[in-house]
C-alpha cells in the first residue's frame, strides 16, 4: 500500500481551519521563521479516510481475531469504556493546579482518588499513585520509591534481584533506577530456585522484583518465605502486576509480603492496548513508602473535598507531567465499578479455567516443560516440532494464515522455543476449541509437511519480512 506521502498532491487539504477574527500579526524575525512548511501530507478528507481505513484492515486486532498473546492479556475491551473516557475530553489538567482550581475538578480528582482506593484494596496496599504512564514506568517509579526508602534509613544498597523468568523491563527499570541487577535462575519446579535465592541475598540487596503468578503462569507457593527472607535483610519486595488478572479477590500481593506493586490497567482492567499503548501503570505502596510518593498527590480533606498536594519533602519528585494517563484511568474505573466484586473474582476464575483448559487439550501435541496447574497462561515448547525443522515462529506464522494472532513466542527466555498462550476470560469455549484444533493441525503439519509451516503466512498483505535488511539499512523515515 502506498504511503500517505505518496498520495500527496501539492495544494490539497483535508481540513478547513476557522477563519481569523483578529488582525494579522507582524511577522517573526527571519532567524526564527521556518524556511518552508514541513513536508506533511497533502490529501483530501476522503483520501485520508480511505488511507487509514485500509491501513486498519491490515491489522489483526482483538475485535477481529482471537489474540492469545501470553503475558499481554488481550481481553475484550468493553465499548462503554470508550464512551466513558470521551466524557472527560474537555478538561484541562492545569485547571486543578491553579490556585483555587481544585474545586472545578472535583469529578476528575475524586475519580482518581476512588480508583486509587479500589486498586489499593485489590492489591493489599495502603496508597496508590496513578501517575506512572505504563507498566515499565510504574516499575521505575516503584524502584525509585524503594531507593528513597533506603536512603531515608541510611541503608547502603546496591543490588536488585530478579528471577531469570522476569519481564525484560524489570532489570531495565532497576538499572535506570541506579541498581546493579542479580539474576536468579529458575528451578525445575518452575519458580525461582530457593537455594540460589538464599545464596544471592545479602545486606546490599535493595529489592526483589517478582511477577506472581510468574511468566510461566505459575503461582509461587514459596512467595511468603521469599518475602520474609528479603525483609530480614531489609530488602523490599516489588510486585510486577502484569499477571494480577489471575488472582483478583483470591490473594493480595500486600498480604504475602509485597511492599510495592504496579498494576497494568491495560491488562487486568480491560482497557485497550492501542497497538502498543497507551497503557497505565499505577503504583501502590505500603505505609512506610507513602512519604516518598511522587507529586502531585491526590488527597481528600475532612469534608470529603479532593485536592492536590504539590510539595512534600521526601517525595521522589514527579514521574510524569500530570496525574497519569487519565483517559485510561476512566476506563479502568468504569470497568471495576461495572464488574464489581463478584465480577472481578469471576474474571480471575475464568482466566485460570480457560488457560488450564487449553493446556490440557494441547498437552498431547506440544511439550509442556512445567506440567502443573497453571494460572492465567500456559507455556509450551515447540521442541518436539523442532525435530522436523519447525520452530515456534513457524507455528506462529501458520496460525496467522488460519486467522489467529499467534501466542507470545520465545518468551519467557528460559523455555526453549517457547509458545506462551493466554486466552483470557472473555473467550468462549467455542472460540478456544477452534483455536485448539488449529494448533493441533499445526503440530500434525509439522510432522507431515514442515515446508508448509516454513512458507507461512501466505494470506497476508506481505509474506515474511527481511528484518536483517531493516536493521542494516535503518530506513526509518520516508525520504520521498
Amino acid at each position: 500500500m502506498e504511503l500517505i506521502y505518496e498520495k500527496s498532491v501539492p495544494g490539497r487539504r483535508g481540513v478547513k481551519l476557522p477563519a481569523s477574527d483578529v488582525p494579522v500579526a507582524a511577522p517573526l524575525p527571519e532567524a526564527l521563521l521556518r524556511a518552508e512548511p514541513a513536508g506533511l501530507a497533502e490529501v483530501s478528507e476522503l483520501d485520508l479516510v480511505r488511507h487509514f481505513t485500509n491501513l486498519s484492515r491490515r491489522n489483526f486486532s482483538l475485535d477481529t481475531n482471537f489474540y492469545p498473546l501470553g503475558s499481554c492479556t488481550m481481553k475484550y475491551n468493553a465499548k462503554v469504556l470508550e464512551n466513558a473516557a470521551a466524557l472527560f475530553a474537555p478538561f484541562h489538567p492545569m485547571t486543578a493546579l491553579l490556585p483555587g482550581g481544585e474545586e472545578f475538578c472535583q469529578g476528575s480528582l475524586g475519580m482518581l482518588y476512588d480508583l486509587g482506593q479500589m486498586l489499593a484494596d485489590i492489591t493489599g496496599m495502603d496508597e496508590v499513585t496513578t501517575q506512572p504512564l505504563a507498566g515499565a514506568h510504574g516499575e521505575l517509579t516503584g524502584i525509585l520509591l524503594i531507593s528513597a526508602y533506603h536512603r531515608a534509613k541510611g541503608n547502603r544498597k546496591k543490588y536488585v534481584l530478579v528471577p531469570d523468568s522476569s519481564h525484560g523491563t524489570n532489570p531495565a527499570s532497576a538499572a535506570i533506577a541506579g541498581y546493579e541487577v542479580i539474576t536468579v535462575p529458575t528451578a525445575s519446579y518452575g519458580d525461582m530456585d530457593m537455594e540460589l535465592f538464599r545464596q544471592a541475598m545479602n545486606d546490599e540487596v535493595a529489592a526483589v522484583m517478582m511477577t506472581c503468578p510468574n511468566t510461566l503462569g505459575l503461582f509461587n507457593p514459596h512467595i511468603k518465605e521469599i518475602s520474609d527472607i528479603a525483609h530480614s535483610f531489609d530488602a523490599l519486595m516489588y510486585y510486577d502486576g502484569a499477571n494480577l488478572n489471575a488472582i483478583m479477590g483470591k490473594v493480595k500481593p500486600g498480604d504475602v509480603g509485597f511492599d510495592v506493586v504496579h498494576v497494568n490497567l491495560h491488562k487486568t482492567f480491560g482497557t485497550p492496548h492501542g497497538g502498543g499503548g497507551p497503557g497505565a501503570g499505577p503504583v501502590g505502596v505500603k505505609k512506610a513508602l507513602i512519604p516518598f510518593l511522587p507529586l502531585p498527590r491526590i488527597v481528600m480533606d475532612d469534608n470529603g473535598a479532593f485536592g492536590l498536594q504539590t510539595s512534600r519533602p521526601g517525595a521522589i519528585g514527579r514521574a510524569a507531567n500530570f496525574y497519569g494517563n487519565f483517559g485510561i484511568m476512566v476506563r479502568a474505573y468504569a470497568y471495576i465499578i461495572m464488574l464489581g466484586r463478584e465480577g472481578l473474582i469471576r474474571v480471575s476464575e475464568h482466566a485460570v479455567l480457560n488457560a488450564n483448559y487449553i493446556k490440557e487439550r494441547l498437552k498431547p501435541y506440544f511439550d509442556l516443560p512445567y506440567d502443573q496447574t497453571c494460572m492465567h497462561e500456559c507455556v509450551f515448547s515447540a521442541s518436539r516440532q523442532l525435530a522436523h525443522g519447525v520452530h515456534a515462529i513457524d507455528i506462529a506464522k501458520f496460525l496467522i494464515d488460519r486467522g489467529y494472532h499467534p501466542p507470545t513466542v520465545y518468551f519467557p527466555l528460559i523455555v526453549k522455543e517457547a509458545i506462551m498462550i493466554e486466552p483470557t476470560e472473555t473467550e468462549s469455549k467455542a472460540a478456544m476449541d477452534a483455536f485448539i484444533e488449529v494448533m493441533i493441525e499445526a503440530a500434525r503439519t509439522a510432522g507431515s509437511d514442515p515446508q508448509a509451516l516454513l512458507d507461512a503466512p501466505l494470506t497476508m498483505p506481505v509474506s515474511r519480512l527481511d528484518e536483517t535488511k531493516a536493521a542494516r539499512e535503518q530506513n526509518v523515515c520516508c525520504l520521498v
Partner: protein
Amino acid sequence: MNDSHYCPHTAEEIREMLSVVGASSVEELFAPIPPELRAKTFNIPPGMSEFETFARMQAIAADNSAAMVNFIGGGYYDHIIPAVVDHLSGRAEFYTAYTPYQPECSQGTLQALFEYQTAICRLTGLDVSNASLYDGATACAEAAMMALRATGRNRVVVDGCVSPFSRQVLKTYLYNQDVEVVEITPLDGLLNRAALAAVLDERVAAVLVQNPNFFGCIEDLSPLAAQIHAAGALLVASVYPVSLGLIRSPGEMGADIAVGDGQSLGNPLSFGGPSFGFIAAKKAFIRNMPGRIVGETVDRNGKRGFVLTLQAREQHIKRHKATSNICSNQGLCALRGLIFLSAVGRDGLADLARLNRDKAEYAKARMALIPGVAVLQSAPAFNEFTLFLPGPAAPIVTEMLKQGIAAGVPLGDYYEDSANALVVTVTEKRTKKEIDRLADALQANI
C-alpha cells in the same frame, strides 16, 4: 444484571471444561495458592449494568466545571481536533491491537508508525524518530539519558525556562544515577547565556532547552548550538509541535535531539492524558534511541513492508543493558498525531500556527492596554506570553475561575520573585470575543 457478560461460559460449558482439566471446581484450580495466604477481605462494591455504569461516569464528569474558557497551557493546549481523528483512530483494528510483534498481520499499525516517524522527522528537521514515548516530560528525561550514553559524560545542564514539570521529571529519572543536573536560572524569561557559558565544560553531556519556553518566549538556538557543540555536548530542544508550522525547526537551528509532547496534535486535554512524547535525532544517534522504531524492508517476494527494527537496543532483549526500560509506548496517541498532521497538512499546519500567533498577538496588545499590566517583551512569542500584574496573580486567577475563565498560569508557584507574573495562552479556538472578555475581566479584577 448478568455480571458475567464478559465471561461468556454457561454452567454446562464450565462443567465440560472442568472435566477436561480434571478438577471438580474452578476453585480447585487455585490450590497452588497456600490457604493461609488467601485474601481475607475484598471490598470492591457490587457490580452494575452498563447503563448504570455510564450514568455514574456522567455524574462524575458533571462534577467538573465544563464551562471554563481556557487561557491556560503549561504543556497542554486546547486545539481543534478534526472529526476524522476520532473516527479513524477509533477503528477497533487499531485500538484493540497489541504492539506489532508479528509484522505480517500488523502492517496497518507498522506502516502508520513509519508514516508517523516520517512526520516527526519532517516537523523537527531531524533524521530519525522512534515510534513514540510516554509524554513530553519523560521524553526530556529520555533525551538526557540518550545524550549521557552517546557522550559518556555525566552532567546535564537544563535551562530554568524549561517547563518545571519536565525539569522535575528529569531529576526524578536521574535521582539515583551518578549524574549531576545543573539548572540555570532564567534571565528576563530567557536562557542566561553567560551563566551557560560558565558551566559548559567537558563534563556536560547535554544542554536541555525549551522553545518556545515556559514563559512563551521563542529564541534562535543556532548560536547556542555552535557554543554547545564546541564544548562537545549535545543540544536537546523540547518543542511545541504546532509552533513548528511557523518557527524554524530544531534541526535547522542545530539541535541534536528534539523532543516534545504530542497532545496538541489531535489528542484531547482529557485531564492530562493520554498524549504522547516524541523524540527525533540526528542519524548518528539512532542506536542510542529509546523505545520502538519501525523500519522499512521487503518480504520474500521483494514487496515493501515494515517491521520493528534495531530491537537489540530494547529491554526485552538487552534487559539491564537496554537504552531504556520503555515497553508499551503511546502508539494510539501517536497515530492520532499522524492523522491530525495529515488532515491539517503541509500548508494547513503553517496556517494553524499563524492563526495561533495572530490571536496571541491580539490578546497581548489588548492586555497591554490594561492600566498597571505590563507584557514581557524580551523575545517574540508564539501563542503564550507572560504578563506582569500590579499585584499577585494567584488571587486574581482564583477570582476569575469563579467567573468561568481560566485566565492563565501564575508563575509564583514555579519561580521565585514571580508572584505577579501570569502566563496566558491563546490558541486558535479562542475567539476575539473571548479574548476581549478575558481582558475586561482581568481589568475588573486587578
